[in-house]
């Protein structure tokens, strides 16, 4: 499924934080959204899910999922889209789960919410966990009993179980160890491969972007400064800001 954003503007009262002219994620494509903190990438993600209002921001512009104009949806219709068609995973996977409920409870309840029957929900949960190389008994655990990597896999498994069409990954590996990071990236690739998901990958880490994304969009102060195939954006940056970002990445073996 495609995701198209046009003319997105996000404001907090008088202050404009995002002015994004164009952002596309094609079908089965992995697009990286790069920028430093405050560049507006997370706000953009929230806006796509229609959640910018819950933090007090005003949103205008067009956000389309395939043919569907999300900004024109009623709140109820938008709720149907969330999770079911567009899923999101977060930077702190353990704290993203409600601490007083078992992880499986959230998992199954979400599936039931989006229309799956009890038996089918359980089946999908098992399948989803299998896909991320976890055993179903993990569903009985509380979030604080999971490692960061495990929790993130459960989150990914949930997106897979929901058969979401688009996944927004907001800094999914930033809080994880490098070795775990690689596994998560592999799982994300798997989502695209097996489940046909389009992925919008938000990160400040160029190495991660470089490994995973087909195309890359660079944001700064709420606007896009460069966009294109990852290889050219990172390998041969045109915009001065992108050049700075690339140059700032420490190289193993290079002399300072």
């Amino acid at each position: 499924m495609t995701l198209s954003v046009r003319g997105l503007e996000i404001r907090f009262g008088e202050r404009q934080v995002v002015a994004l002219a164009e952002l596309d994620v094609a079908d089965r494509e992995i697009v990286g959204l790069v920028g430093e903190s405050g560049s507006g990438k997370s706000m953009t993600a929230l806006a796509v899910l229609g959640l910018a209002g819950s933090v007090g921001a005003d949103v205008s512009g067009s956000i389309r999922l395939g043919e569907l104009e999300l900004t024109a949806l009623s709140p109820a219709a938008m709720r149907d889209v969330r999770g079911k068609r567009i899923a999101m995973i977060f930077q702190n996977p353990v704290s993203a789960f409600n601490p007083v409920f078992r992880v499986g409870y959230i998992f199954l309840r979400t599936l039931r919410l989006h229309g799956f029957g009890k038996g089918e929900a359980l089946e999908r949960a098992r399948a989803g966990l299998h896909e991320v190389l976890l055993t179903p008994d993990l569903l009985d655990r509380y979030p604080h009993q999971l490692s960061g990597g495990q929790a993130q896999r459960v989150a990914i498994a949930l997106a897979a179980a929901l058969r979401s069409e688009v996944l927004i990954a907001d800094e999914p590996t930033s809080a994880l160890d490098v070795t775990v990071q690689a596994e998560i990236l592999e799982l994300l690739r798997g989502l695209r491969q097996r489940d046909g998901m389009s992925i919008l990958m938000i990160s400040h880490d160029l190495a991660v972007i470089g490994q995973l994304c087909d195309r890359t969009v660079v944001m700064r102060n709420g606007t896009v400064v460069e966009a294109g195939p990852t290889a050219s954006v990172l390998g041969d940056p045109q915009a001065p800001y992108t050049k700075e970002l690339v140059a700032a990445v420490p190289q193993i073996g290079a002399v300072a």
Binding site: S54, G83, N98, L113, H144
Partner: protein
């Protein structure tokens, strides 16, 4: 989990012992001689000396403390100077009335405070929130004894709808004698099916309970509001939104459960305030509980009684806190599964 409980119990014991020692030391510093109070002002020096010996006043302070602690454990809490009864039995007779009032006050405080706090959080920033916050802040600014008098003025004096003296109407008690099991009129009359007494004791309980509940209710409402609002800002609530759950479910279910965990510990606080308020208003409502017993004991420089009441409250309070801590540990999986 057991380590948690053991740790809490140890702390509780330490606190109780600390309080006893503290009160004992301070009480012995009272100007005024308990021995004189025991035998009266016209006693001979011999009688005075004997009284001093009976009361153990002729022994060094640390020895007195040890004796007292040993006595506590074996059930001897001394003899009250102003009632001439064993302190422990005095406490037993007077405590139920206070317990009845504290319980009623706590019940009202939670019954009103929790829903108000939830309402306030649900509509944060809007009219219901401002309204609740105003009521809550007035509740915690209210001088309890004044509220008691004003309510008496309005509901007894002017409107003549509620009684203000004692735990029940003595005429009703004479006509429908009450079997005493728990020595709490409301409970006993309910259990015995003694409806005239039930009505009488319940109406007598209303005003004092409201007065006792005012301050804790304000505290509860504020804490519930703060806890819920804080929870609403947490990562996991954001995730449930992103998963497509309706706001109603998020508030009533996903935010509420973790938000109410700290509220369990608030119950201990509510108990503390209810206890204090009970003490302050017992005299105003002619309530024959520990509060008036304590007041009488202080007047009479009745050291064993004062220490006895203090100790009783200390133990009661520590146990209540312990129970709350354990309940909280059960409810919060993060503590239970440490």
């Amino acid at each position: 989990m057991t380590r948690f409980i053991a740790h809490r119990v140890a702390l509780g014991l330490l606190v109780v012992v600390g309080v006893v020692v503290l009160t004992f030391v301070i009480a012995r510093v009272i100007p005024g001689d308990p021995a004189t109070n025991w035998v009266g002002p016209h006693a001979s020096p011999v009688q005075l000396a004997r009284a001093r010996h009976t009361l153990g006043l002729d022994r060094p302070l640390p020895a007195q403390i040890v004796d007292y602690l040993r006595g506590i454990v074996s059930g001897d809490w001394g003899i009250s100077i102003h009632t001439k009864q064993p302190v422990l039995s005095d406490l037993g007779t007077r405590a139920p009335a206070s317990i009845e009032l504290v319980a009623a006050g706590m019940f009202l405080a939670l019954l009103a405070g929790i829903p108000l706090g939830l309402l306030s959080a649900r509509w944060a920033g809007r009219a219901p929130d401002v309204g609740v916050r105003l009521v809550a802040v007035v509740g915690v600014s209210m001088p309890v004894f004044w509220l008691a008098l004003i309510l008496q003025l309005i509901f007894f004096q002017k409107l003549q709808v509620l009684p203000v003296s004692g735990q029940y109407d003595p005429d009703v008690a004479a006509a429908h004698p009450l079997q005493a099991y728990t020595h709490m009129p409301v409970v006993d009359s309910l259990v015995a099916g003694n409806w005239p007494m039930f009505r009488s004791s319940l109406t007598h309980l209303v005003l004092p309970a409201i007065v006792v509940a005012a301050y804790p209710m304000g505290v509860v409402a504020r804490m519930v509001r703060a806890s819920v609002l804080e929870t609403l800002g947490e990562d996991h609530v954001r995730m449930t939104r992103a998963l497509g759950f309706p706001e109603r479910t998020i508030f009533a279910h996903f935010a509420l459960r973790p938000a109410l965990n700290p509220v369990v510990s608030v119950i201990a606080l509510v108990f503390a305030y209810a206890l204090v308020n009970t003490f302050l208003v017992e005299a105003i409502f002619d309530w024959n509980g520990l509060g008036s017993y304590a007041a009488d004991s202080i007047q009479a420089l009745d050291t064993p009684a004062v220490i006895g009441v203090t100790l009783f409250i200390a133990i009661f309070y520590v146990v209540a806190n312990l129970v709350v801590d354990i309940v909280q540990a059960f409810v919060d999986p993060r503590i239970r599964l440490r």
